[in-house]
């Protein structure tokens, strides 16, 4: 029984307690605040599971940007709460039994895993020097499973198209309805003047260090998105109209460059998304740089929601 184990026990107990609270809370706002706290603790769990890349992603997305989305939705929907009909007791009991069974089955698998433990870590490490990268997770994301990563970027763009198409017809291409702080507030102005320069440095650092240390395009892009949203909430910069060509270009820039590099693989290395020997790292850095910008813009626009008014011409 050492200190590290006690820490893990405390952490696991906290995660479980807060999760229960999120489900049991009476009003939605409490559940959302619980979820922000939960995302934070989950980042600590990922550190304890030696997955620092994941911890960075969870810290940025899980509690940061998702928290913002949920908080915005909770305060908009506040007045609709009492009208919701709750589920009857027999149904609740049935659901509880079902969910407990599923949890127990999964737990059984954790406690009694199959005899041989399957791992790709040695293979991943064995071929990593060929790529020039030193962060194995970046290697998986951009070399071994690059196709997944490319499709994931496409999913982000599709989600954005989906969110935009929820706007009323006459607001298509208009300005997203991000809640802008209306009272002139000097403190918030100060924060959004001081923080974004630092945030941009951290974002670029995350992207740059990602080749060799935990970090990468997702984490960097999320920080950029958060800083952009902050500046817009404070009203220092107006939310851009979604029909701006530049904006749309930035959204597809990353996936497009990644796709071009992938197609070049046919000509130079014999298959889709293959890198010619010796050029893997520079190509990955180019793709990641473009992706960082695109992820930043796309996540920011996703968080800002569908267009709700038109730009004045």
């Amino acid at each position: 029984m050492n200190a590290a184990f006690i820490f893990d026990v405390v952490l696991a107990a906290l995660v479980f307690t807060i999760a229960t609270w999120i489900i049991a809370a009476r009003d939605a706002f409490s559940a959302v605040v619980g979820f922000v706290a939960y995302g934070l603790l989950l980042a600590l769990v990922w550190v304890e599971l030696s997955a620092i890349d994941v911890a960075l992603t969870e810290a940025a997305i899980g509690s940061g940007v998702t928290g913002m989305l949920l908080l915005g939705a909770a305060s908009r929907l506040r007045k609709t709460e009492p009208t919701a009909v709750s589920v009857g007791l027999p149904m609740r009991l049935l659901a509880a039994v079902l969910c407990a069974l599923i949890a127990a089955a999964l737990g059984f698998l954790v406690l009694f895993p199959p005899g041989t433990i399957f791992t790709l870590a040695p293979d991943a490490m064995a071929h990593l020097p060929e790529t020039g990268l030193r962060n194995p997770v970046a290697g998986v994301l951009f070399v071994y499973r690059a196709f997944d990563t490319l499709l994931e970027k496409v999913v982000l763009v599709l989600a954005l198209v989906g969110v935009w198409s929820l706007a009323l017809d006459r607001f298509w291409g208009g300005i997203p309805g991000l809640p802008v702080f209306e009272q002139p507030n000097t403190v918030l102005t100060l924060l959004s003047q001081l923080l974004p320069p630092l945030g941009i440095v951290v974002g670029i650092y995350m992207f740059w260090t990602g080749a060799n240390n935990p970090g990468g395009a997702f984490q960097g892009g999320t920080v950029l998105a958060a800083m952009w949203i902050l500046v817009m909430i404070a009203g220092l910069q107006h939310m851009p109209s979604t029909d701006r060509r530049m904006l749309r270009l930035l959204v597809v820039l990353g996936p497009a460059i990644f796709l071009v590099i992938g197609l070049l693989g046919f000509a130079l290395a014999g298959s889709f998304l293959a890198y010619p020997p010796g050029y893997a790292k520079p190509l990955i850095i180019i793709a990641e740089a473009a992706l960082t910008v695109s992820i930043g813009v796309t996540l920011g626009l996703l968080a800002a929601g569908p267009p709700e008014r038109m730009a004045r011409r």
Binding site: N2, A3, A4, I6, F7, V10, L11, L14, W21, A25, F29, S30, V33, G34, V36, A37, L40, L41, A43, L44, V47, I52, A55, L56, A59, A60, S63, G64, V65, G67, M68, L71, G72, S75, R76, R78, K79, P179, V180, F181, E182, Q183, L188, L191, L195, L198, G199, V202, M206, T209, N213, P214, G215, Q219, V223, A226, I229, L230, I233, A234
Partner: protein, 95 residues
């Protein structure tokens, strides 16, 4: 030394998480938000203590990320809450 640091991380985490009881009690949304803010600072402290204890400097990057986004949730809360309040009951608004 490592155990002392991890012990301290454990203590900070437990102490600030206890503050989450404010989410239960409320009474106002602002109080609930404060509890999350405190846990954020506690999480940052626990992370840097862990980073030094297990000698993994990359963990400090996670703390840096949390510190950078620490204000984010609260800013989003204040801006969206004041917007829905300002627009909801026009009668109570003197303007």
């Amino acid at each position: 030394m490592a155990s002392i640091l991890i012990g301290a991380a454990c203590f900070v985490l437990a102490a600030t998480a206890l503050g989450l009881l404010r989410i239960l009690r409320g009474p106002a949304d602002a109080d609930r938000m404060m509890a999350a803010q405190l846990l954020g600072t506690g999480g940052v402290a626990a992370l840097i203590l862990l980073a030094v204890a297990v000698r993994t400097p990359a963990i400090v990057d996670v703390a840096l990320m949390l510190a950078l986004l620490a204000a984010f949730a609260s800013v989003a809360f204040v801006s969206s809450a004041s917007r829905s309040r300002d627009k909801a009951p026009p009668a109570t608004d003197p303007r």
